[in-house]
């Protein structure tokens, strides 16, 4: 048993000119992730050392953290950075004051590591430019899929490919709720309450359930994987709140289960003025084949799959949230900077103003009707008018005639056409509840 040094370069060279001593780290936000980051950094003192904690409740939180008496605790960004810093870690979340603190650090030529999906999705390119101008770095591995190093893997490990599509399960709360509904047959409200009781869902779960959280992460993936910058608000989202246990029964008859899926593809070049490629993207509940990787993601896990022109499908899975996994992503970014790794050379971004979600896919539509003769005929006529083929009509027995659910599966058609047909269908007077439509993925055109 012996030791062999296989480092490929000298430490001094590695730290990009900053000679001697560990990388000085200022940590903003001392919640669950912040505490984990502090703990992981504690084991890496040669490489990086926590010098200050910035938290608006610094005075209170300090009391519970007795480890290093030299760490400065403050609620002032100026004071936090005053002692000199190499890396500023932003973990407070939200846009304000997170974005202005990030700008403040970059303006002082301090590199920034953040887990903030909202700030990066909205202002990432402008902040990256600012980092470049100031000769420092901005890294945000933790902003997408928590501990799963998908951005790094795409940026460096798949740099030689041309990625054409990215799809993933990016919100652990939704996945926890949907897998509970799938396996236990509980309804949405009960599964949500369970998730809240276990700490998987916020008191206000709107961003999770409605798709806003996954949408921000998808916008970041679109930048890094596809080289496209899109307005985050332009990506269409559908809530998973309309999914019922019955939908899982019907989905299973179609060989599928239901997941909240975030997806983005390069759009056809001819769809845009100037002929540049566009972006097709969306977030919402979708049917996925039972044997597809996305179907196998259970509980609060995350999975990202990318499709490359040369490399085919590659997938990255793991823990998408939680203090320790997220801290691994944050600290890995810090170590990259501490050890002098250069920022990845990102492709020039194509900026698109509009995002289409008009991907052609088979669709699942559940109707709930006051039953009477002629309903199927009426629906079939509308779908025929829109040139949409009906694949199958599925109806489980045992429901009362005044609120009878049934499902129509449609052959692949553009989402826009399907939604137009459904708007027409909404005019009929037999609906007890609005139709629920979901794309059937895995067989996407």
């Amino acid at each position: 048993m012996m030791e062999a040094a296989v480092t490929q370069h000298e430490p001094d060279q590695a730290r990009g000119g900053r000679k001697g001593g560990p990388c000085r780290v200022v940590l903003a936000g001392f919640g669950t992730v912040g505490r984990s980051v502090a703990r992981v950094l504690d084991g890496l003192r040669d490489d990086a050392r926590l010098v200050a904690v910035l938290d608006r409740r610094a005075a209170i939180k300090r009391a519970g953290w007795l480890h290093d008496p030299d760490v400065v605790w403050t609620d002032s960004i100026d004071e936090a950075l005053a002692g000199g810093a190499d890396v500023f870690i932003e973990l407070i979340g939200g846009i304000d004051p997170a974005e202005s603190w990030i700008r403040e650090a970059l303006s002082r030529r301090v590199s920034v590591v953040t887990a903030n999906k909202q700030v990066i999705a909205h202002a990432g390119p402008s902040l990256l430019s600012m980092a470049t101008s100031n000769g420092c770095q901005l890294r945000f591995e933790a902003s997408v899929a928590g501990g799963v190093p998908v951005l790094r893997a795409i940026e460096s490990g798949l740099a030689g490919d041309r990625l054409v599509r990215v799809a993933g399960i990016l919100n652990g709360t939704c996945n926890y709720i949907l897998t509970r509904m799938e396996r236990e047959g509980v309804d949405f409200a009960s599964a949500l309450k369970e998730a809240q009781a276990l700490g998987f869902a916020e008191a206000d779960p709107t961003m999770d359930i409605g798709g806003g959280d996954a949408r921000a992460k998808l916008a970041i993936l679109a930048m890094i994987a596809l080289g496209v910058q899109a307005p985050v608000g332009g990506i269409h989202t559908e809530s998973i709140a309309s999914v019922t246990p019955l939908d899982f029964q019907y989905a299973r008859r179609l060989g599928c289960t239901i997941r909240q899926v975030a997806w983005a593809s390069r759009g056809p070049a001819d769809a845009n003025p100037g002929g540049a490629e566009g972006l097709e993207a969306g977030v919402g509940p979708a049917l996925v084949p039972l044997d597809a990787p996305l179907a196998r993601v259970s509980g609060s896990e995350n999975l990202v799959t990318v499709r490359g022109q040369f490399g085919g499908e590659t997938s990255f899975g793991g823990r998408g949230a939680g203090g320790d996994p997220t801290a691994v992503a944050v600290v890995s970014d810090v170590l990259g900077i501490a050890r002098g790794a250069r920022p990845p050379l990102r492709p020039t971004l194509t900026i698109v103003d509009e995002v289409s979600d008009d991907l052609a896919a088979p669709f699942y539509v559940r109707f709930t009707v006051r039953d009477r003769p002629g309903i199927i005929a009426a629906l079939a006529t509308v779908f025929a008018d829109y040139a949409i083929n009906i694949d199958a009509i599925l109806q489980e027995p045992g429901f009362p005639a005044d609120a009878r659910p049934f499902v129509i599966s449609l052959d692949a058609a553009p989402a826009g056409t399907v939604h137009a047909a459904l708007e027409k269908v909404a005019g009929f007077d037999f609906h007890v509840a609005p139709p629920v439509a979901m794309p059937i993925l895995g067989t996407m055109a």
Copy 2:
């Protein structure tokens, strides 16, 4: 629609001082992968340009490649490097002359990118040191799991974690054969022939079937993920050739399927002189629970899962072989060098002389016997002598008494103890074929 530049540094700075012009690439080996690499490089002329092809059949192969008349075709390493090179890509495979060519390139301060698992598994640390001394780089993403960027993801994206275990399906040929046996019930020999006919298996499949191929990849993963350098030959391998369709039937009764699994864990510190951590590792057929990620890898796909102290399980899946996916890994390494990315700062390796495969696991053992009363009693006595509990005895009906198979599943016990008991059992005269033993993973201690 407009363009926004978000590169974080200047191209000149990015290329580590090498001013102007694309990175000059010499490619050794113009087989399936080499051709794909040439094709992918062709689309990246601003970043990297092929200047020479080194192949022992250069004169013949040149005829089929008419694209760039300026490329030098030669069977001499001196001539290939004579025109000046920034990166030497080694794709000829095997140890000789691959290793000496790699050394030749490094000695000329030319960075090396290789897909050669044998050279890296055997001589990686010494070659990395040589690269360091000469101020150039050695990269080998393609040597493990083809197009799946697992080394890069571990080295940079999980740098902040302490990984404790790695397991994976690293040989697509074995996985293709085993999934065919699982799904179609064909026997090993037929599945192998099929794989050969489809080009998934070599004419001499010994390295795949016997585990030598996966073992070399596992040794590289142990270096990168666990920081342990082990003698490749010291990692125990078991062939998958003894697996029969009947084993899949029994495995299913235990909620499992069968895969060739390569695994490595940090060993207990007290097992080694000096108290340093050791390595436990092995390659061979194993039962894996049907709902485990490894069970869901089908056909020639690869999957690597790592377990970190902080980040939990993270998995990386995709196409582990084939010209184009492997070319993506090679070209991504080239681009990393071309764009001035620094080599990862690798941890100091712990060198171990011996590798244990004595992990405690439940075991599956299939016996084939000339039936007579008292066989179970005889076996049970031996297992009791070794303090191994019997979990279940499974016997499918319909086999003749002179060659009757049955299965005993054993509670978790150290592999060494199980094998010692089986050696004792081998002395009985009722065996028609040697017992086949496989660990049952996923419930590993």
